[in-house]
Amino acid sequence: MGHVKEINVLIIVFTEMRDKLRKWREDNHRNSEQIVDVGEELINEHASKLGDDIWIIYEQVMIAALDCSRDDLAWTCLQELKKQFPGSQRVKRLAGMRLEALEKYEDASKQYDSILQDDPTNTAARKRKISILKAQGKSAEAIRELNEYLEQFVGDQEAWHELSELYINEHDYGKAAFCLEELMMTNPHNHLYCEQYAEVKYTQGGLENLELSRKYFAQALKLNNGNMRALFGLYMSASHIAASPKVNATVKKANVKYAAWATNQINRAYQLAGRGTKENKCSVKAVEEMLESMQITMS
């Protein structure tokens, strides 16, 4: 499958290639192999037709080349950019990234420090330094540095998300929840943040957290009716609360109702998914059995 796609790439016209690169750039895709294929062709064959676009394409291709360990290509791109923009901080950061890819972390760190000397507000260099710590596996230090960074730049959403991921890896769910709350506030309509927050709360456990997680799974579903993970999460959290011995009867009844509703929706979804296929009946039955087995006995 991969090879067929590569051949299709080469046949596509120049403008399509350039537009695809732009789309990947804008959507922040990390499909580095494809970028390297398309970008290399574009740079080698069609450099003259690109005009001023070529510089940003050099940057995009260089980063993708570093991902694919294509140091030759990365070096070429870097040289071209250095010639065109001597003394640019953006180019210095790319040079630092290349050193990182070659695992020369000391040199990369020095490079970023020199950028920060010139311009203390440069966020990109700081974030690269934190990535170096992450790459070296020093997660405690990375967390500490990231916290300091966020004290200065409270609005950097990418950083908040990164920090929440680091905390989850350290199993510090309380702090991860804090980071996700920041993200939920700045992006109230993003169902994925709600869902992630609900999952963290569910993992923390305890009645209060389960209630919160159920609410946030519901919110994620409200924002995006098609979020199956949130639907399952809603079912799980409602069932858990209903099965807990500490709840009173009204709460239990309510949660059983929620769980039942969720079950209905799950069944509906699987019915819709398998319309007309032979496997449909099997998968629907499998879902029903799974839901029954997950039913924690309501005593």
Binding site: K222, Y258, L272
Partner: protein
């Protein structure tokens, strides 16, 4: 009162009205590009960046705090507004009012602003007045009092002429302000040819009075945050969600989108 309608030579329209429009427009475009060339980099300090982001965070807390649990909201509000060590209570930034004397870059900025905007206007206004003088150019569609005559009818010495008939100089000034919307259409917002905006900035006091504002901004945020209450948006979310079936249309179609291509 019924006044005799003056019939203007159509040559006036061709050789005066339209050229003035073109001249004004072109000068505006040139001004825009010149201002871009002469722009000096605004260096922000780390503290300024940090402060502006903190203010944004506080504002977002006020607006979207209802999406996070009550406990979290209170925790953040406490952090900002606490009597003893709340951020807004305690942080005092050094206030340095940027007067033109102490801040050399501010002085050059002001000079550049003057040169690019006021000077051309005066020069070209004068040139148009000199070139296109002695005749009436156009009529404004609303009646004006006699007081406007000396201002709008420079060079026309007719006492009995209605004040609505104006000279080319006033047509020029009309254009300068009228073409503002054209500039935003063609050059995009925040363009250097937008004179009235620049004049407003000059009139409203020293430009970039940010440092003094920071303390005031903090105080304003503190007050606003004190007043905010937490109305949890998720209070009845389950009832809202389960009042109807999920909309699963379009989720499962036979042809799934194949990856990136």
């Amino acid at each position: 009162m019924a006044e005799p309608e003056l019939l203007l030579d159509s040559n006036i329209r061709l050789w005066v009205v339209l050229p003035i429009v073109f001249i004004t427009f072109l000068v505006g475009v040139i001004r825009h590009y010149v201002s871009i060339l002469l722009q000096s980099d605004k260096k922000l300090t780390l503290e300024q960046v940090s402060d502006s982001q903190i203010l944004i965070r506080s504002r977002i807390l006020r607006e979207n705090g209802k999406y996070i649990p009550k406990q979290s909201f209170l925790m953040r509000k406490f952090y900002f507004n606490n009597q003893e060590d709340g951020f807004f209570k305690n942080t005092k930034r050094k206030v340095v009012p940027p007067s033109p004397m102490t801040d050399p870059s501010m002085l050059t900025d002001m000079m550049k602003g003057n040169v690019t905007n006021v000077l051309p206007m005066i020069l070209i206004g004068g040139w148009i007045n000199w070139t296109f003088s002695g005749f009436v150019t156009t009529k404004v569609p609303f009646p004006l009092t006699l007081r406007f005559k000396p201002m709008l009818q420079q060079g026309i010495e007719l006492l009995s002429l209605d004040a609505s008939w104006v000279s080319s100089a006033s047509w020029y000034f009309l254009n300068v302000f009228g073409l503002r919307s054209m500039y935003s259409l063609i050059l995009g917002q925040d363009n250097g040819a937008d004179q009235s905006r620049i004049m407003q900035e000059q009139m409203s006091g020293a430009a970039m009075a940010m440092p003094a504002d920071t303390n005031k901004a903090f105080k304003a945020e503190w007050e606003a945050l004190e007043l905010t209450d937490h109305q949890w948006a998720l209070e009845n979310i389950e009832e809202e969600l389960m009042s109807r079936e999920l909309d699963l249309d379009g989720m499962f179609s036979k042809e799934l989108p194949t990856g990136i291509f």
